[in-house]
């Protein structure tokens, strides 16, 4: 192994949200002199502000640190960020592939959470060296012994190897750095072999074009290298290579073992697929880095313009937005109720929320979002298999042989006193128990198989409620299974609203129908006439409710000085109705389209 490689360490930090990942990262940067304490706050924030003005957000995807270890040698450490949510499991696995080791950060006051375990297993499967770090040990409620017990029982690691640390108080930072140097193996690779580099993250920069964050396994890449993206065969000339120090800094070259970024005047971020392999077009490698798969949406929902937003506005905004989000897919669809819009595919619910919020906030788009749904598969009597991304497209019952729905395996970690409540909740969600084990004296890990549709809406919230916020949850999609499913239609004044149709388990149809009709009654404002709401399966009405017509307005005087005020009031009223969608003569608010999410 070359001297250069011996002095490189590539690692991630695995942690649950709020367990202190960014504080620890800040401390590592500070300790190694990548940032001064003062500069840390001010300059980094300054950069972010400038970036914000340009309308882009940059996070630190891969920071390069220089550390002079106790052995007297100087090491180059690459800290690679991992997204912190279940929706981004694949992205996490790609980030971990770029590393040889990981810090497993556990909050001494909270203990291990489900997500941490899921990521831990991923890391272990990739043969990463894991260094447990118990964080926040300075807090009075820290229970280090309990965490050590969990580390031994759940993770099967030696608890005595765990480093006691506190990012906030600056405890154990040097120990962490020493462990990185001494325990995590240096990268292997040969800079004389053909280029082989993994893309683990990307973003769109208005000046550089699409930027890829890469880990070089073999070979070398520099300005001018003609690269080929192996999944698509597309080729580009590299315009810049560099690393985050933590500022984006150009370098001469990135060689085997290195982590950094490359830019190649790539206009479409979709050309830079996370998990894809970059090679030298003139001297390509035989084999890509294993594990690539294109981003696959798990959840679909309709996005429709409302208020003063037109379909063209929405389409333009989506085009601009997706420059920076390769995981979002969408296609134009027409809804009789909502008009022209798109059916968009998301990695998960969080991803959907992010997209929706950013479209509204950054692109001033007014949206009606329909209730999200999973992808169903229908086997017709003729034996055809159809993929159903929109419940209203479910074929006529007579043509269906069977309907399949996706299942997940859920891992839930909860204090043992809430096991009963969790079991009850999961049972309501059609869950099948698969595992039950104590991970320490007071904490239980439950495994369930649950139809994905059941956890789409409010499962996480409910889980938090029944366990007073103590449980954590993670999932993995495990495949399709047949379900006894029916399509439920919602009728407004006798007319079915396609955008409100959804698919539900037959046994739950009555309860869900009743509940959704009641919820809709609450959210549909009184109108100038009576509004009738009905839930139907096929031609059978199973629940109905009515919204009585509006009684009267505030009937105020209106003389010379009242006119302008009156106008403002009307304007306000109009604003209030902006997120409404006209269906026939009835105006339906956004909430009506999401009533299914609130079903008890």
């Amino acid at each position: 192994m070359s001297e250069r490689l011996k002095h490189i360490r590539n690692f991630s930090i695995i942690a649950h949200v709020d367990h202190g990942k960014s504080t620890l990262a800040d401390r590592l940067m500070e300790f190694t002199g990548a940032t001064e304490k003062r500069e840390m706050k001010e300059q980094l924030l300054d950069t972010l502000d400038i970036e914000r003005e340009r309308g882009i957000t940059i996070k630190l995807q891969a920071v390069r640190l220089k550390y002079k270890a106790k052995d007297g040698e100087e090491y180059t450490l690459h800290l690679i960020d991992t997204p912190g949510h279940v929706d981004f499991g694949y992205e996490v696995s790609r980030s971990l592939t770029a590393c040889e080791g990981a810090l497993l950060l556990i909050d001494a006051t909270q203990g291990i959470e489900a997500q941490t375990i899921a990521t831990f297993w991923q890391a272990l499967n990739l043969d990463l060296e894991i260094i447990p770090v118990i964080n926040k040990v300075d807090l009075p409620s820290a229970d280090v012994d309990r965490i050590k017990e969990q580390i031994a029982d759940v993770l099967g690691l030696d608890p005595d190897e765990a480093i006691l640390a506190s990012g906030k108080a600056g405890i154990g930072i040097e120990d962490v750095l020493e462990a990185i140097v001494n325990k995590i193996p240096p990268p292997e690779g040969d800079e004389n072999k053909p280029l082989k580099a993994l893309i683990f993250d990307s973003y769109y920069d208005p000046y550089r074009g699409a930027v890829a964050f890469i880990r070089v396994f073999d070979g070398e890449v520099k300005k001018g290298t003609r690269i080929r993206l192996m999944s698509t065969g597309k080729e580009f000339d590299v315009t810049e290579v560099g690393a985050q120090l933590p500022k984006m800094t150009s370098l001469e070259t990135l060689k085997a073992g290195d982590v950094g970024y490359i830019a190649a005047a790539i206009k479409d971020v979709r050309d830079i697929r996370i998990g894809d392999t970059i090679t030298d077009a003139k001297n390509p490698t035989d084999e890509p880095v294993p594990g690539f798969r294109p981003a696959k949406p798990m959840v679909y929902a309709g996005l429709y313009p409302t208020g003063s937003t037109t379909f063209e506005d929405l389409r333009d905004a989506l085009e601009k937005y997706s420059i920076n989000d390769a995981a979002l897919t969408y296609e134009v669809e027409t809804s009789p109720a909502l008009g022209l819009g798109v059916r968009a595919g998301f990695l998960g619910l969080l991803h959907m929320e992010i997209v929706q919020e950013r479209l509204e906030r950054e692109y001033n788009i007014e949206l009606i979002t329909t209730a999200p749904n999973v992808i169903y598969k229908v086997i017709t009597k003729k034996g055809e298999e159809l993929e159903i991304r929109n419940p209203s497209q479910l074929p006529d019952v007579g043509l269906i042989d069977k309907i399949l729905e996706p299942y997940i395996e859920a891992s839930i970690i909860t204090p043992n006193e809430y096991v009963g409540a969790v079991m009850q909740l999961v049972q309501e969600k059609r869950g099948i128990q698969k595992g039950f084990e104590y991970i320490d004296k007071r904490t239980v890990l439950l495994r369930y198989e649950i139809p994905m549709a059941e956890v789409l809406f409010d499962f996480h919230d409910k889980l938090k409620t029944v366990t007073r916020g103590y449980a954590s949850f993670d999932y993995e999609v495990i495949g399709y299974r047949e379900g006894d499913l029916v399509k439920m239609d919602i009728l407004i004044n006798g007319e079915p609203v396609d955008a409100l149709s959804f698919i539900v388990h037959k046994d739950k149809a009555y309860r869900v129908g009743r509940s959704i009709v009641d919820k809709m009654k609450e959210v549909i404002p009184r109108q100038l006439f009576e509004v009738k709401i009905q839930a139907a399966v096929g031609s059978k009405i199973i629940a109905s409710a009515r919204v009585a017509p509006m009684r009267r307005d505030v009937l105020a005087k209106c003389y010379g000085g009242d006119i302008t005020r009156k106008k403002k009031l009307l304007e306000k009223q109009k604003e209030g109705k902006k997120r409404m969608k006209q269906f026939g003569k009835v105006e339906l608010p956004q909430e009506a389209f999401l009533s299914i999410l609130k079903v008890e």
Binding site: Q527, L528, M550, R552, L555, C558, G560, K577
Partner: protein, 370 residues
């Protein structure tokens, strides 16, 4: 062409808790005189506008805190300086207990020919609940003085939807109002405006507004009763014997131009709506320094004018001319829903339609893309 002038007198003897007009308690005669002189000066700023004055209106506040001579001074200034028709309608709002018989002779002499009395109700408990300082008898006396002085175009204000008011209470008021020798009634549903003491009391639940069921019934009952006694509704809150509609107030609803002077007064001249400052010292200082006291103004484009036409025109019993708009569909839809009728190219709200006038206006504006 400016057809009417409104003069705002922002002084009162007491401040009623529900009132949202700009006024304050002040009994300083010197300030009154200074204020009137300022009004005259403000009027002089508009000499170059095109006037054909048909109505003059003294509103407040309480215009009748001013001595009749000061009212007279303003009227004669207007008549001398602006083109005024021979018999303009000159209205003065009068609070019970302020003007005595002699004062009426005086203002009648200066040209006041219509008075509007802040009577509100003839039931003591209502007057108390509204924080009024007069008694029912004071209203009767005021009507009597006006008639004696030769002013027979009399309007009375009525407020309903008062805390604790029953339908029987309302019936009593309706009977008294319609039995009096008056020509006009303005009946307002009590509104708890945000920035008024009443609004704050309602917010703190110290004042219980009657529920929607009862006020809805009251709204219907009032119109039925007034119409049966020969008072015809010509606007959402206004009823008159034939030919005694308030010509001045009709300017507001019929999209006509008017000049408003005095503290917080609003004008509509050319295609511009503008409003004066609300601070008395600022008002006096600005005018005395030869500056217009305008603090808010808005140019109306065609679209805005059409919007105003809708929400102002809907208030009137004669409704709006549907030929002013590019589609009749929405008018037909609203007629089918019994919220209005189309009659001779005009769309008029029914009683049910009037009750939801804001929602109908919003709907029209939305459907007509205005």
């Amino acid at each position: 062409m400016v057809k009417g002038i409104y003069i705002h007198i922002p002084f009162c003897n007491i401040k009623c808790p529900y009132c949202d007009f700009v006024s304050f308690i002040n009994e300083d005669e010197q300030l009154y005189e200074r204020y009137v002189n300022t009004i005259l000066k403000e009027l002089s700023f508009y000499q170059n506008e095109n006037f054909n004055i048909r109505t003059i209106y003294f509103g407040g506040g309480t215009p009748s805190v001013l001595k009749p001579e000061l009212i007279g001074k303003i009227i004669s200034y207007i008549r001398n300086q602006f083109d005024t028709i021979k018999n303009p309608e000159i209205t003065m709002e009068i609070n019970p207990k302020t003007y005595k018989e002699n004062d009426f002779y005086k203002v009648a002499n200066y040209g006041v020919n219509r008075i509007s009395i802040g009577s509100q109700s003839f039931l003591r408990k209502n007057l108390q609940s509204l924080g009024r300082d007069h008694q029912p008898i004071d209203v009767l006396k005021t009507v009597e003085y006006a008639l004696k002085s030769g002013i027979n175009n009399i309007s009375l204000d009525m407020i309903y939807g008062i805390s604790g008011q029953t339908l029987d209470d309302l019936q009593k008021d309706l009977e008294i109002y319609t039995s009096l020798p008056i020509k006009h009634i303005s009946a307002y549903m009590l509104t708890a405006y945000e920035d008024t003491p009443l609004g704050k009391m309602v917010e703190k639940q110290e004042y219980q507004m009657p529920d929607e069921d009862i006020t809805t019934l009251m709204f219907e009952k009032i119109s039925d009763y007034f119409e049966s006694k020969g008072f015809f509704r010509y606007e959402l809150s206004n009823w008159a014997k034939l030919g005694f509609e308030s010509r001045h107030n009709l300017l507001y609803w019929e999209d006509k131009q008017f000049l408003g002077v005095g503290l917080s007064a609003w004008s509509y001249i050319g295609n511009k709506r503008f409003g004066n400052v609300k601070n008395i010292n600022e008002y006096l200082k600005r005018v005395e320094n030869d500056k217009k006291p305008v603090e808010y103004s808005e140019i109306l484009d065609e679209r805005e004018k059409k919007r105003e036409k809708i929400f102002l025109g809907l208030r009137l019993s004669k409704g709006i001319d549907i030929r002013d708009f590019n589609s009749v569909d929405i008018f037909e839809e609203l007629s089918e829903q019994k919220l209005g009728v189309i009659d001779n190219n005009r769309f008029k709200l029914t009683s049910r339609g009037l009750m939801v006038i804001n929602e109908v206006a919003r709907k029209l504006i939305q459907e007509l893309n205005l």
